[in-house]
Amino acid sequence: MTEVATFTGYVYPNETIIPWGVLIVIYPYLTGLVAGAFTVSSFYHVFGMQQFKPVARLALLTSLSVMLFVPMPLLIHLGHPERSYLSMITPHLTSAFAMFGFFAAFYTILLMLECWFVFRPGNVERARNSSGLKRTFYRAITLWSDDLSPRARLIDSKWLLTLAIIGIPSAHGLHGYIGFVYGSLKARHWWESDLMPIIFLFSAIVSGIALVMVLYVLTSRIRRTAIDHSCLKGLMMALWGFLMFTVVLEGLEFANIVYKGKEGVDMIIAYVQGPLFWRYFILQFGIGALVPVFLMGIMVAINLKGRAFVIGSTISSLLVLMNVLFMRWNVVIGGQEISKTGKGLLTYPMPLFGHESIVSASIVLIAPFILLAILLKLFPPWVEQSGDT
């Protein structure tokens, strides 16, 4: 049973069924986390910033775990998921979405390759130090390559650097591309913006950094290990910087829509002042962005350290994660709540259960982290674990 959207003003009759629901909110959110987490991993693996070593491999595994679930919300959303392969067999090249399958597949393979090289030395050691089925598993994972000679390690590191260098534009390209899917859609005023791909990209980076920070603090707590202050501070500074940039971009985009005042702007203004006010100004901009910007600014100004710093950073990260989720929601759902007539507003009815519902979206959102927990057990990325690159 499809939920029918209620509306005010005048909307086209067919608009009362909102085409893209909550799963299409989760989809760019997950893609963004992938790109952001990969960025963190690249701080160390490409740019050689030693202070990020404690989280580099955690970030990489996070990126892979989330990426493997990126197609999931799309597939559930499709009316005919069994035909999805057609987009790769007969891609319709004028479509902004035709290349998604190729890009996603390419990037997933690239991530898996990078993980294979990063964790190879550790897996060789784990195979050596275990027996039976466990040994067979790790040997199989290393593809029976147990050469840890300096020459082999050198080849590994060359491959890693190459993959990471290809990975950075790929990750960011993939996410900028998702922004383009929305930004290029001229039928919707709320989406049609040249800034959209850039906003998507920067919000992706901040969400990924925030996620890695939360995961780092959380796993350190669970493992009862000390948090590397320099690493967490570095992440916070990166988050702070990118977040300020993102907020400015988002503000500029909104200012552009209002200032240009094209046809239909009255409805947009009515929308942001009414139904969107809390979700947009309070939760996304206020609590989700400005509060963490100020909070992190204060922490930097007073050079906060120790437990208070960890708590402050974690709170900021959680707020940023919320900010980006609201940004995705406000873009995807927001765009569809403003009628194409320019004369009405719709309200997206999100069902609790069903095909595209709170429950299905929550499962898709949680699933990557269950996979991540399993991967963290199998391939511990922690610094004190010897071997890995």
């Binding site: 893209w20 987009s87 319709h92 998604f100």
Partner: protein, 294 residues
């Protein structure tokens, strides 16, 4: 339905074409790979496969009259005309369309609909509604035909008019542009159609249409919209909505024929299209549009 056979045949031919395209895509890809030395020889083997040759021969044979032997889509350039000054809002067109095309029978799926614009005395902007509005549905009563209620009976109406809407079968359709698999396409005769057996149900086309003309059939998992009753027009008949229109508001015809109703409408009037700024170049031409119509 009589025309269903025609549509099925046409869709089959479209599939033939698509199968060929798929094969060509695979061939080209494998050729590229062969060129890279990854799969030397594979490309040329596929490219010269007997199946492909047979396919090409079949396509060539059919090309004499495509897509069917009785209908050659290269000979027509269909267009639609709507003279809003004639529309009385009787909604026969909406009913006929629903029945003829087996459109989902609720207030949220329409291949065509009619909007009512009412300017009350002393007001600058129109009050707009359609028969899908809950008040109008309630006024029609359960199981009744669509109708507009009489909500303005106590108001002083300055002027009022009806505007029928539908897919504009654009010359540069945004819906076709965005389809990731090419399931929706603009035929040679100018109609924009959807291959329901190929649509993956992503609804990108629904988003891209600035006119709200597309909708998603939940039960079938595919997008749908007006086809100008393709099963009828390919047999020389009018679309159902044109056929039942009692006032001649809706006209249809071939732009290649200067005597066709639509050619005459365009010749005798100053016509407009909806949302020209979208760049979609609609092929539904309106007479008597008003500033508030969007």
């Amino acid at each position: 339905m009589n025309g269903q056979g025609d549509i099925n045949r046409r869709v089959e031919l479209k599939k033939d074409k698509k199968r060929t395209q798929r094969r060509e895509f695979l061939c080209n890809t494998s050729k590229a790979l062969a060129g890279l030395g990854v799969a030397a020889g594979t490309g040329s083997l596929l490219a010269n496969s007997p199946e492909k040759k047979a396919d090409k021969a079949a396509m060539a044979a059919k090309a004499a009259s495509f897509p069917t032997k009785d209908y050659d889509w290269t000979k027509h350039r269909w267009a639609y005309g709507i003279d809003t000054t004639k529309c009385i809002g009787c909604l026969r067109c909406v009913k006929a369309c629903k029945v003829e095309n087996n459109v989902v029978g609720d207030a949220n799926h329409f291949r065509t609909w009619v909007e009512r614009y009412v300017y009350l005395e002393g007001e600058d902007h129109a009050h707009v509604d359609s028969h899908a509005d809950s008040q109008n549905i309630a006024a029609a009563g359960p199981g009744a035909e669509y109708r507009f209620d009489n909500r303005y009976k106590d108001e002083k109406v300055n002027r009022a008019f009806f505007v029928p809407k539908m897919c504009n079968h654009c010359e540069r359709p945004a819906c076709v542009q965005v389809c990731p698999v090419g399931a929706t396409f603009r035929a040679e005769d100018g109609t924009v159609l959807i291959d329901h057996d190929y649509c993956i149900g992503c609804r990108y086309c629904v988003q891209a249409c600035p006119y709200g003309a597309r909708f998603f059939i939940e039960e079938e998992g595919v997008s749908d919209k007006c086809t100008w009753c393709y099963h009828r027009i390919t047999k020389g008949l009018n679309p159902a909505c044109v056929e039942v229109c009692p006032t001649g508001t809706r006209v249809f015809g071939d732009l290649n024929d200067p005597e066709s109703p639509v050619s005459k409408l365009i010749k005798d009037n100053r016509v407009q299209v909806l949302k020209p700024e979208s760049g979609n170049a609609p092929m539904c031409f309106y007479v008597g549009l008003d500033k508030d119509v969007s």
